[in-house]
Subunit: 466 residues, 2 copies
């Protein structure tokens, strides 16, 4: 162990009580990575299971003084390696800071600690007659802190926007351990730079978020109508998605699952989906009254005109919920088959059919299996490249397919990451997407706000070959 | 003229053709300030009437090399002095860059030059079956570039959000004259820091925005129902506003005008409003169908329970539009009476009655006349302090009232500026609102992205006593 590491451990032990500080290698190891199975991770020096902002301040101060990397972590459901340990880092886990501090329907806001689980916040808001919309597929497990750090998207954001659209303010530990309040509690406010917004999606590289004020929508969410479409091909389903956009319909969900996903869910949960559809599109409308009926009719028309082999509005709420539960289970179901290399490209809506065709071509060209889940209505596609453990040649082919898909998305005016964040896996893509001058602006902002260089260094816009 | 100024003029003349570059003092003077009549302004060295990004690059390069301040300017309708000239600066005017480059309803976006007038963009989008919501009261005159630089709000943002919520991407000239593209054209995207969002509301202090990609909502805006309430007192009208929030109603507008505003409009346009109401609340709902009817009923109930002396839904569309036109004219009508010192505080919705009471108390305490316009549904209040030209004692009293109102707003958990920006007038308030550590983060970000220190220096978080 290096002298710095020894000093850091001694200082952490002096400041933090035993249940907060984990240093035993076996205990620490369980915090060392997120769910990006392809991303490398190092060995943390220690884990701080924070119980308060003070714990975070103590850890950050010590790390800033000694130059030890700090990596914040929510539930570890990330898919890009953003929360992966750096060798010798201090991981700050927020599992223990999971209190909802305030739900205020009148001011349309809630204040939470970072470790609050997304679904728990939504359920608590519902009890008070308010709604927190952002709903990543990981919502039963992922935390608001992680959602904010990655600017997570989700199923309803095709209509309701992403996490950024709901973050009003935050408390964060920055610099050498200063506690700051960014953002506001009012409906509007333009006093100074939007530093709160800058922290959203910064993946822990600018400081450690210790409290979050989110915007709520008043009232309970209106009931949704569900529309189901079966398609023979990915491209036909993509045409339906493009047609929905062209018709100016804004569904409250428009999700795509292909045969690989349906089979994986069937094998796990025995739902019998894959026998019926090759590609499944799930649309929803939560617009009340006649306008909602029109949206449903419009969705069905788009599905049919794009060549759906079958389409219908679901008349059974349980059936509809089961289909969306299958959507949510698709990722863990596929994970059971082998390490997944997860894409998160987002393209203009009109380009969805072409992008899906290019993904199929990449799978063929590189002789690799690619399953597709998509927040299709957003143009946000998740091709998941499946390999068998231990097959190094397959891994190489998978990486080539991954790189081709990223290049195709950028060439079509898209982005390498729609909602998962860059973490470690998409650094090369980020450097392809952004100009050197924009990368330079990232470094300048990072260096300005993190003079000690301790906050999740190397992630996001760090050297992709490091 | 200093040596630097002479060098700068020579270099500008060498790079920019005559119609682009103005240096004649009389021509230049008309660009020297915005509508914040209380804010000081200097004398610009030159005005660049940009016709292209290249013109901006040329100006910024020269200014960066010589350390000459650069002040970007839209239509000059700002109310905080953000676009006011700094002595010896180069003003970049965007009046000539007013092309709408693309309206794309399918991808729900438009691409515009900064000088496009807000209402012109909305009208052009309407023709293509799409809607650009942000509607500052200055929408017939103000430009999208200025709206973005100040993160302008407006009448419908109580339901639809502010300018920031509609800016997807931009081109900007930064640093020493590099052209960068920030943000995206896709529905979602998290590749790196939200530098685009950071530039929104940065009031020209980080670079010069030369092109903007905005998000549109698909379809035409639904027709609105209008509800009118008359009140005897500001506080009673404020109680109605708080009741609307408590009822969970989200109107598409909820505007307040007091007796001073109504009289000023009457004197100018002879509309006969002030004889009928002491304080006027204008509510709107654009929710279609029965749900919209319920909102209207709810608004009327809130008005009546708060003690409205009269309330009704407007059955005459022209009458309703005339009332909102009066709202839009209130500011210029008051400007006719004397220099206005314009507040822009925003408080939590439940605090609106108390804040209005405190504004009245400040007017009494300092023996000054304060008119109130408000985006009341947002908690965003515009007390306008009226003085007679040349009355220095009144100016002193007005400044004291201004300072008290700012302090009251901050004490109630509010902000010094909801939508106008900080500019010059609210720098003292900004320093009261933000902690020294957060001000320090502003300086760090500014220095990182503007190493030459040329972009609108001293504005927003600069020394308020300078």
């Amino acid at each position: 162990m290096s002298g710095t590491a020894e000093k850091a451990l001694a200082a952490l032990r002096a400041e933090l009580p035993e249940p907060v500080l984990l240093t035993d290698p076996d205990s620490v190891a369980r915090f060392a990575h997120d769910e990006a199975e392809w991303a490398p991770h190092g060995e943390p020096l220690a884990v701080v299971r924070a119980t308060s902002t003070d714990d975070v301040v103590a850890a950050v101060r010590i790390c800033a003084e000694l130059g030890v990397p700090v990596v914040p972590r929510g539930a570890g459901t990330g898919l890009s390696g953003g929360a992966n340990a750096i060798d010798g880092c201090v991981l700050i886990s927020f599992e223990g800071m999971n209190e909802i501090l305030e739900i205020n329907p009148r001011e349309q806001l809630a204040v939470v600690q970072p470790g609050v689980v997304n679904d728990d916040l939504r359920a608590a808001c519902r009890e008070q007659g308010a709604w927190y919309p952002p709903d990543p597929a990981s919502s039963p497990w992922s935390t608001i802190g992680g959602n904010v750090a990655t600017n997570a998207g989700g199923v309803c954001c095709v209509k309701y926007g992403v996490t950024r659209d709901y973050v009003l303010g935050m408390e964060a530990v920055v610099g050498n351990g200063e506690v700051v309040r960014l953002g506001r509690r009012t409906a509007k406010g333009v006093a100074g730079y939007d530093l709160c917004g800058l922290f959203v999606g910064s993946e822990g590289t600018l400081g450690v978020i210790t409290e979050i004020t989110v915007k709520l929508l008043p009232g309970l969410r209106a009931p949704e109508r569900t529309v189901v479409g079966y398609f023979d091909s990915l491209v036909a389903a993509g045409e339906a998605v493009a047609a929905v956009a062209a018709a100016g319909i804004v569904p409250s969900a428009l999700e795509l699952l292909d045969q690989h996903c349906l089979k994986a869910v069937d094998e796990w949960k025995n739902m019998g989906l894959s026998a019926e559809a090759n590609v499944l599109l799930l649309g929803r409308s939560d617009t009340p009254g006649a306008a909602g009926e029109q949206e449903v009719d419009g969705l069905l028309r788009c599905f049919d005109e794009a060549g759906a082999t079958w389409s219908a509005r679901s008349t059974d709420e349980h059936e509809a919920d089961a289909l969306f539960a299958a959507r949510r289970l698709a990722y863990p179901a596929l994970e059971r088959l082998g390490p997944l290399l997860t894409e998160d490209v987002c393209v203009p809506r009109a380009k969805v059919p072409e992008m899906l065709a290019r993904i199929e071509a990449a799978a063929q060209r590189h002789d690799t299996q690619i399953a597709n889940i998509a927040h299709a209505g957003d143009g946000n596609l998740h091709p998941l490249i499946i390999t068998q453990p231990g097959d190094d040649a397959a891994r190489l082919r998978a990486q080539r397919a991954f790189d081709d898909i990223v290049a195709d998305a950028i060439a079509m005016g898209g982005t390498v990451t729609g909602e998962h964040g860059v973490g470690l896996l998409k650094r090369k893509g980020l450097h392809a997407e952004l100009s050197p001058a924009v990368i330079g602006m990232h470094h300048a902002v990072k260096n300005a706000l993190d003079p000690a260089g301790i906050f999740n260094p190397g992630k996001v816009f760090g050297d992709p070959d490091s």
